[in-house]
Amino acid sequence: MRWLLLRSLVLLAASALAGSVVVFLLLRLLGGDVATVILGRTATPQSLAELRSQLGLDRPGIVQYFTWLGDLVRGNLGQSYAAGYDISQQIQSRLGVTVALALGSMAVSSVVSVAAGSYAALQARKVRGAFVDLLTQLGMAVPTFWAGLVLVIIVSIHLGWLPASGYVPWSQDPGQTIRSLTLPVAALSIHVTAVLTRYVKSAMLDVLGQPYLRTAMAKGRTLPMAVLVHGVRNASVSIVTVGTLMLGGLLAGTVVIENVFNLPGLGSLLVSAIKGREALVVQSVAFVIVLMVLTLNFLMDIAYGVLDPRIRDAEKRGTNVE
């Protein structure tokens, strides 16, 4: 098990690095660099060249990449070229927002979707089940940012219940943090919840047809109890798999939602860093995002094993499970 963990960790780091190389190469495609941005409209070729050599941008790509990698390993990514802020610090402070958004909506949508999905599965042949299905379909069809806009109009502007934008850090006022994240999380959750609900329903229907449920009923359980005791966990195994698949989309969603709600998260840092050609920042943020997704993936894998002893055993033996 420990060896397995180590192997996974190495794989994780390798994948994240691969991601950073891709990002590094992609960045080289971009027109203009941080020197053009710093010097702005009135730059001259000489001043540009001077600034580039001053910033070390004239070194070969390989050297630049490995310098960055070295900094990364040392945990000190240095400062952004133009703004001069500490990159590691900056990422740290913004990571909180993005993680809160992503995990918040993951949590909300898990809870809602398990309830709604189970309900829809149990009521599959009835009108009430069909109604949940319809809501699900609608939820999947609504663009996340649109949902955000509509929520702002209704909840913030018309009802004045929650702030329309901005973010208050935890350290400052946790109550306000929650208030400022409520709408973004809600907007982000709509689509995810809808998709998850479908999965939960399908997983639940699957479980409902499983003989072990009948066994539980033969022991004297009623159907709802049998589903609760035996069904939910079994269904959750397949839902965890889907959750992994959805993470990428969820993080993409946070970028858009950060834009709608003006939240200082990693997404907006990335966008502004791309706009400002802050190569170091872009690279580091991309690395962190990739690492985050992979780590969550990795955790889900572990959760998968924790939930399902068959997987655990198969992994111990190093076999594939189908």
């Binding site: 033996r317 190093g318 076999t319 594939n320």
Partner: protein, 259 residues
């Protein structure tokens, strides 16, 4: 040596399996005979016939078909080898592509092995041989009963004129009534075509009426082999004795022990 197919010190282990599935298997089959392969689930029966008909590469050990190594056959003249060695599977429903009509499915081996498209009359005559008519040709597997599909599977195997037919639990998923039909068909084909037959089964009673020789497998090894009557009368291996006792318990003809 008069064996049509022979295995020598065959051992095999699936890459992902914890234990070997074949352990030093030595087995020879004389042409024209019927061999019954019995043993509990997971004892390696299917693996053995897969290896024998060249679906799994062997190592260590060797399989010789007509005194020639199967690996060699497959490299030099794979088509001939495959034509002569055919398989019928346990589960009729899954042994046909659900998207193909029976006509297409039947034509497949001929196309693959003889590079030609069989005529409809050719197919029909084969179908009649297994007791079916042209009506099934346009159907999909799910539109036929289990017994019918298993017959088509046998017809499919026969179309390329095999010498050796392996049947992996050909009746275990069929009802008793249909089981008898399929077994009768196999016995008749053996008689009329002079096929060499290998029948995998866990049912000793069945094997005893169909096969002239029997091999008993346990954990990948052959624990006992010989003429059926002999093995049934005087089982030597303790495992065979156990099997017999179990079969005796559920025999209909047996006098009432539990009364």
């Amino acid at each position: 040596m008069s064996y049509i197919v022979e295995t020598k010190h065959l051992s095999f282990r699936y890459r992902t399996a914890p234990a070997p599935s074949l352990v030093d298997v030595d087995l020879g089959i004389e042409p024209g005979t019927t061999l019954g392969l019995v043993g509990e689930s997971g004892s390696g029966k299917s693996t053995l016939i897969r290896v024998m008909c060249g679906l799994i590469p062997v190592a260590p050990g060797a399989v010789r078909y007509q005194d020639r190594d199967v690996v060699d056959w497959l490299q030099q003249d794979g088509r001939t080898f495959r034509r002569q060695n055919q398989l019928v599977f346990q589960n009729p429903a899954s042994s046909f592509d659900p998207r193909m009509t029976m006509a297409t499915a039947l034509a497949e081996p001929v196309k693959a092995l003889e590079q030609r498209t069989p005529t409809t009359s050719e197919l029909v005559s084969r179908l009649e041989q297994v007791g079916l008519n042209a009506g099934v040709l346009n159907r999909h597997p799910h539109q036929l009963s289990g017994g019918q599909v298993q017959r088509v599977a046998i017809a499919r195997a026969l179309l390329v004129g095999p010498q050796l037919l392996y049947a992996d639990e050909p009746t275990s998923s069929l009802d008793v009534s249909v089981q008898a039909q399929v077994l009768n068909l196999l016995m008749e084909l053996r008689r009329t075509l002079g096929l060499t037959l290998v029948v995998v089964s866990h049912d000793l009673a069945l094997v005893s009426r169909v096969c002239d020789r029997v091999a008993v497998m346990l954990s990948g090894a052959i624990v006992e082999a010989g003429p059926t009557a002999e093995v049934l009368r005087e089982p030597k291996a303790p495992y065979t004795q156990q099997l017999l006792a179990a079969a005796e318990l559920v025999s209909l003809s047996q006098e009432d022990a539990n009364q």
